[in-house]
């Protein structure tokens, strides 16, 4: 029942955000273009590198593009549903506006995470999907319905993992003077999701493949389309999702206990 009430609150927030986006249409178009341009930058990088080489760690140009497209897909979903909310969490804790969320009749983390919805992020989801579909077509892949369904589930796991990463990083604001620049940590870590797992060796492999889930988050769904089912990898991603979400929530709750409001 409580879950249903929270879901209704989320839907109401999404409705409000949509109305707001339509009120500031110019702004919405501008932000959609900004996201589109940043996505193009990632695709351009693949194009430039493959102008000079045939393979990166055994991945061909279109395999790499499929990997990048999968990462972009997860990131667009994060931008649509959670980015603004968590980004503003950092600012709100510093200014004391965070009190407002604590006073609301709902789970604080839920209220913080779902207040805004960014349509500009969502309108670029089809673009990211188009990159994945185009790459799959170039690779002459013919995924089954089951493969596509599991791919969607893994992308969802990716979204939760990206959310957890961002939440854990932004929650550092409870211990710091301000959140200025700390969101850079999220971008620093998620860059690795555009790398093939085979490119990482030694310590980097231990840290970014096994200890942190930043490589498997994109590699597992991309490999599913390219190489078919690999149950071990799928279980790994699902397990990592649950574990890191629990860690992020624990960090947020620890920060919440430390929070003592701010003077105005």
């Amino acid at each position: 029942m409580d879950l249903l009430r929270h879901l209704r609150i989320w839907l109401a927030s999404i409705r409000y955000s949509l109305v707001r986006a339509m009120m500031f249409r110019g702004d919405f178009i501008m932000w959609a273009l900004v996201e589109l341009f940043w996505m193009s930058v990632n695709v351009l990088l693949v194009g430039v590198i493959y102008d000079h080489t045939d393979s990166i760690a055994g991945w061909s140009k279109y395999e790499m593009l499929l990997l990048v497209g999968t990462t972009l897909l997860v990131q667009r979903l994060l931008m649509a549903f959670f980015w603004s909310n968590l980004f503003e969490l950092g600012r709100n804790v510093r200014s004391g506006t965070f009190d407002f969320f604590l006073a609301q009749p709902g789970w604080p983390l839920f209220m913080v995470s779902t207040r805004k919805f960014d349509l500009d992020g969502l309108v670029n989801v089809p673009v990211a999907l188009a990159i994945v579909v185009y790459s799959a077509h170039q690779l002459q892949l013919d995924p089954s319905a089951a493969q596509i369904a599991v791919y969607a589930g893994l992308v969802l796991c990716g979204l939760v993992l990206h959310y957890a990463t961002l939440l854990a990083i932004i929650s550092m604001v409870f211990w710091l003077q301000s959140a200025k620049g700390i969101e850079g940590g999220y971008f620093g870590l998620t860059e690795f999701s555009r790398l093939p797992r085979e490119a990482l060796r030694g310590v980097a492999r231990v840290v970014f493949v096994y200890a942190l889930p930043v490589v498997v988050v994109s590699n597992v769904p991309a490999r599913l389309l390219i190489h078919g089912f690999e149950p071990g990898l799928i279980a790994w991603l699902a397990g990592a999702t649950l574990f890191w979400l629990a860690v992020a929530v624990a960090v947020f709750n620890a920060g919440l206990r430390r929070y003592a409001s701010a003077s105005s």
Binding site: F37, I56, G188, A204
Partner: protein
């Protein structure tokens, strides 16, 4: 108070303000090492099986990215556009209209102080990993000395261009309520055409030539290419310096124009 003393005071205050956020800068610099690890892995994998890409060995490309990253901390106008926008929107610029303070010079002083603090703090994590990093990098030989002499003014002009572009974006607040999207779009253009995503010389030659006439080329790529040996021809370097100076002047003129025009639209209210 002399003009120099006035802005020196602003500079010193700016250093104090920036030092309040020293941990944030240090954390940001540490996070940027992650970007460096990513670069090393990506380009290391791209170079596998070949000794050169675009005529440069792996060490030269890695050096390019390391120098670029350090220069970003010293030169990049990270938050100035946003701060200027906030000052206009909140009416904080009103105080400068009634005082003998030039707003451009005031903000430029703050820019230099913030960059000094950020730059120096960014060196700490880089120095920590230098023993690991050093053997993987390469710098141009002694005959490159003349190009280093060109790099010195290029770095100053690069800082000026970086700041002035940010200032111009801040000025847009006189016309638009929200400029954040313009700033992020500009950052994306800068990232590509400034050589932050890949060295510009890896682009097709016609696109590289075209980019060398744009101001973004002179924000980051030009000084970095001079320091890391990607530009070796002195005449090309001097021609670049001349174009860079031209852009610095043009952008300064644009900044003054936007300030003058913007003030005509500005309404100072409250007491």
């Amino acid at each position: 108070m002399s003009v120099v003393a006035k802005y020196r005071q602003v500079f010193l205050t700016g250093i104090q303000t920036s030092l309040v956020y020293r941990w944030n800068f240090a954390i940001r610099a540490t996070f940027s090492l992650l970007h460096l690890v990513y670069i090393f892995i990506l380009w290391g994998a791209a170079y596998a099986g070949q000794s050169e890409i675009g005529g440069f060995p792996l060490a030269a490309t890695l050096t390019y990215f390391v120098v670029l990253l350090i220069l970003q901390f010293f030169l990049s106008a990270a938050n100035d556009d946003y701060e200027i926008s906030e000052e206009i929107r909140n009416g904080l610029i009103n105080q400068f209209l009634t005082k003998p303070v030039n707003y451009f010079a005031y903000r430029l002083s703050l820019y230099f102080s913030a960059r000094l603090v950020t730059g120096v703090l960014s060196l700490v994590p880089f120095l920590c990993i230098l023993p690991f990093l050093g053997p993987k990098l390469t710098l141009p030989a002694g005959e490159h000395l003349a190009l280093y002499a060109v790099a010195a003014p290029a770095l100053l002009l690069s800082a000026f261009i970086q700041f002035t572009i940010a200032y111009c974006f801040g000025m847009l607040t006189f016309w638009f309520l929200e400029i954040q999207s313009f700033i992020i779009l500009s950052l994306a253009v800068e990232a590509v055409l400034g050589g932050q995503i890949f060295p510009l010389d890896l682009m097709p030659p016609w696109l590289y030539q075209l980019s060398s006439w744009l101001p973004y080329y002179y924000q980051m790529y030009f000084p970095t290419a001079l320091l890391t040996g990607r530009i070796t021809d002195l005449s090309v370097a001097l021609q670049g310096l001349a174009i860079q100076a031209g852009w610095a002047l043009a952008l300064f003129a644009l900044a003054r124009f936007l300030w003058t025009r913007g003030l005509r639209r500005h309404t100072a209210v409250g007491g």
